[in-house]
């Protein structure tokens, strides 16, 4: 089996040459970009708004223990249950045991990246309890047996023709690729599931400490049906999703929506706290919150990287990233793709195995510019590169090469001599027509591009000629 790094390179090479794929991604991101510009202009000062979110998140994350305990206390006061899971296994086991104990036959799920992270669907599949994805994009990739392509628009990589063919195969009765018809087909198919499922599973965009409520942002209404109709509601959330106060949402709801899709605010900004109360017409009998650590508390301990936990999973950095736009979401091979995934995955799943993601960036900083909570994403990529060099294993050849390079650079005459040698060698190589061959040290560039002309003189010589000996 190939390593994640090899698989990444293979897929990146393939995807970046797939022009049809690039076309559909460009179309999706261009329409996002136009909406985002419109949404951003509604704010008095976008930069001030980002600083506001940063402040609130900084407070939340840097007093995480206090806010988590407050959240837990409030949920219990509301008649809910809180389960603390150290890792994916504990979280999946709790939910699976609960489903078994309550005789659950069918589960409806609203879109949640954290349930992808813990591979919950897999754990439930083992119990033969069907869990049905109900967000349209998520439903489409689920029918295709694929992971989500993008954290906000999971089926961004598919054309309507592909989706129509998929629905025809899985649902039948589709005679058009009109999005209106396709949405109606999914609505019809999922309606029955909403009303017959015994358990609804959701994520949480925010956990509100002072109220013991979870905040869910959706457009389709599937999240609302999942949390309203089944008799058990389970919400799964990373411990970093905390916000101190209900009022913080007056800033977070519009910022999340604008960064995520360009909307001024999402259609349904929902707060759920506890099971149905006496006197309420409907709602679940049980409400469970699973608080997931899964490496987050380790990351919290690194003060330099702590602000990675400020992330609200809006997906803006994916859309802004020239690398994501070229290689697409699946190439990353991780739950969270794009810049935030490249920063987060080595922290959660091991620096050694995922250090290649730190290089899946041109360091242009577009991700940092758009992040609504001001995470310094591209510098975190640099920090990960530094840490990978210091702690993780690099190939023997690379380490020797840098030792020699260092030795060359430490003496000006040595540097001049090797520079002269290199120019001589490259000129000879290119004269023989070997540019881009295995013998060419610049092969990574020259195998796909024409070789640049080798200058006759060194930079030092040119400088001396222009500015004199000093």
């Amino acid at each position: 089996m190939s390593s994640p790094a090899q698989e990444f390179l293979r897929s990146a090479t393939e995807k970046s040459a797939d022009l049809a794929h690039r076309q559909i991604i460009r179309k999706g991101i261009d329409s996002y970009q136009a909406a985002f510009e419109g949404g951003r202009s509604r704010f008095l000062d976008w930069q001030d708004a980002r600083r506001r979110l940063y402040e609130i998140k900084w407070d939340a994350i840097n007093h995480l223990d206090r806010y988590l305990e407050e959240f837990e206390r409030r949920v219990i006061e509301r008649g809910g249950h809180v389960f603390w899971a150290e890792n994916s296994e504990e979280a999946c086991k709790y939910i699976a045991d609960l489903a078994l104990a309550r005789g659950v036959k069918k589960i409806v799920k609203s879109k949640s990246m954290v349930t992808e992270e813990i591979h919950l669907a897999h754990a439930l599949e083992k119990l033969s309890i069907p869990s049905i994805e109900t967000d349209l994009g998520e439903y489409i990739v689920w029918l295709r047996n694929e992971p989500p392509y993008h954290i906000v628009t999971p089926a961004m990589h598919l054309t309507r023709a592909q989706i129509a063919a998929l629905f025809q195969e899985k649902l039948g009765g589709i005679d058009s690729d009109d999005p209106q018809e396709l949405v109606a087909a999914a609505r019809r198919a999922l309606r029955r599931d909403f009303f017959s499922a015994e358990m609804g599973i959701s994520g949480a965009n925010f956990l509100i400490a002072d109220s013991g409520m979870i905040a869910l942002t959706t457009n389709e209404g599937n999240g609302r049906l999942c949390t309203s109709l089944p008799r058990i509601h389970v919400a799964v959330a990373g411990i970093e999703k905390i916000l101190p106060r209900l009022e913080d949402l007056a800033a977070f709801w519009p910022m999340l929506a604008t960064s995520g899709t360009g909307q001024p605010i999402s259609c349904y900004s929902t707060l759920v706290g506890g099971p149905r109360r006496p006197g309420e017409p409907d709602g679940p009998e049980e409400f469970h919150v699973v608080l997931l650590d899964n490496g987050r508390s380790e990351l919290l301990g690194d003060a330099e990287k702590r602000d990675i936990l400020h992330c609200i999973r809006c997906g803006a950095c994916l859309n802004a990233c020239p690398v994501f736009r070229t290689i697409g979401g699946h190439t990353y091979g991780t739950t969270y793709p794009g810049p935030i995934g490249s920063v987060l995955t080595p922290q959660l799943r091991g620096l050694n195995e995922f250090q290649h993601l730190s290089y899946a960036s041109s360091l242009c900083g577009a991700c940092t510019d758009v992040c609504p909570v001001k995470i310094d994403l591209h510098h975190h990529l640099l920090h990960n590169r530094r840490d990978a060099i210091n702690t993780a294993t690099r190939p023997w050849l690379e380490r020797r090469a840098f030792q020699i390079f260092r030795w060359m650079m430490m003496d000006s005459r040595r540097f001049a001599f090797f520079g002269w040698m290199a120019r001589l060698k490259m000129r000879a190589l290119y004269a023989l027509g070997l540019a881009g061959s295995a013998l060419d040290p610049s092969r990574a560039w020259t195998r796909n591009h024409s070789a640049p002309a080798i200058p006759a003189h060194s930079f030092r010589a040119l400088w001396r000629r222009a500015h004199g000996a000093n």
Binding site: A101, M156, N219
Partner: protein, 217 residues
């Protein structure tokens, strides 16, 4: 089912506390706390935002006129049961449409799958975003999401300028503490998951209609 797996809880909290012993750098905060410009004319803004987010907004002078407007909307819908929040206000308006429809009141439970429309009151209307704030007191959780049409009967007195004032109102009334469910609804249910093309009525209502009465007595 254990309330909490205490050992995991203690281990996670201990790691968090230990992690936070090292302070993290903190950058400067915003120059001003306000992130949106003040809303000058709430009614005008609300109507504009509704037009933009595809909420139908019907202005009526008083509640009897609202009842007539609701009856007119219902008359154009396919036959079938409607679900109505059981409140004195809506009970008073009900004669305007009751003879043509069978009505299920929220006091009888949640809305049925085949409901043609739901009629509820609201906690507030938010001008800044053209939104309707409902809680489980507004006919429960399903009342605003199950049927293809959701009609909100509201008055000018429900209109607040922005989100901050909506949250202030919620604090004063204890909306979040007294209800297990609160939802800020902005437009009808929609998706753009297929080629970023907007389609209304994904899983929730295709139409959201606010019947806004100038006087609500």
């Amino acid at each position: 089912m254990a309330q909490t797996e205490s050992s995991s809880r203690e281990r996670i909290l201990a790691r968090v506390r230990n992690a936070l012993l090292t302070p993290a750098a903190r950058h400067a905060g915003p120059e001003q706390k306000r992130i949106f410009a003040p809303v000058a004319d709430p009614l005008d803004r609300f109507q504009k935002e509704c037009a933009a987010n595809i909420t139908e907004c019907v202005l009526a002078p008083d509640l009897p006129a609202s009842a007539a407007a609701v009856a007119e909307i219902l008359a154009a819908l396919p036959p079938g049961e409607i679900f109505v929040q059981d409140s004195p206000e809506l009970r008073a308006l009900a004669p305007a449409w009751r003879q043509s429809r069978s009505v299920r009141w929220s006091s009888e439970g949640g809305p049925r799958e085949e409901s043609e429309a739901t009629i509820t009151l609201c906690e507030a209307l938010v001008a800044l975003t053209g939104s309707v704030l409902v809680s489980s007191a507004c006919g429960g959780r399903g009342a605003s999401v199950v049927a293809p049409v959701h009609i909100v009967v509201a008055g000018l007195k429900h209109l607040v300028p922005d989100l901050d004032s909506a949250f202030r109102l919620m604090r004063e009334r204890g909306t979040a503490t007294q209800n297990s469910y609160v939802c800020l609804i902005t437009g009808s249910s929609r998706t753009a998951d297929i080629e970023k093309i907007l389609v209304l009525g994904a899983h929730g209502p295709r139409r959201l209609i606010v019947v806004l009465s100038r006087s609500f007595e």
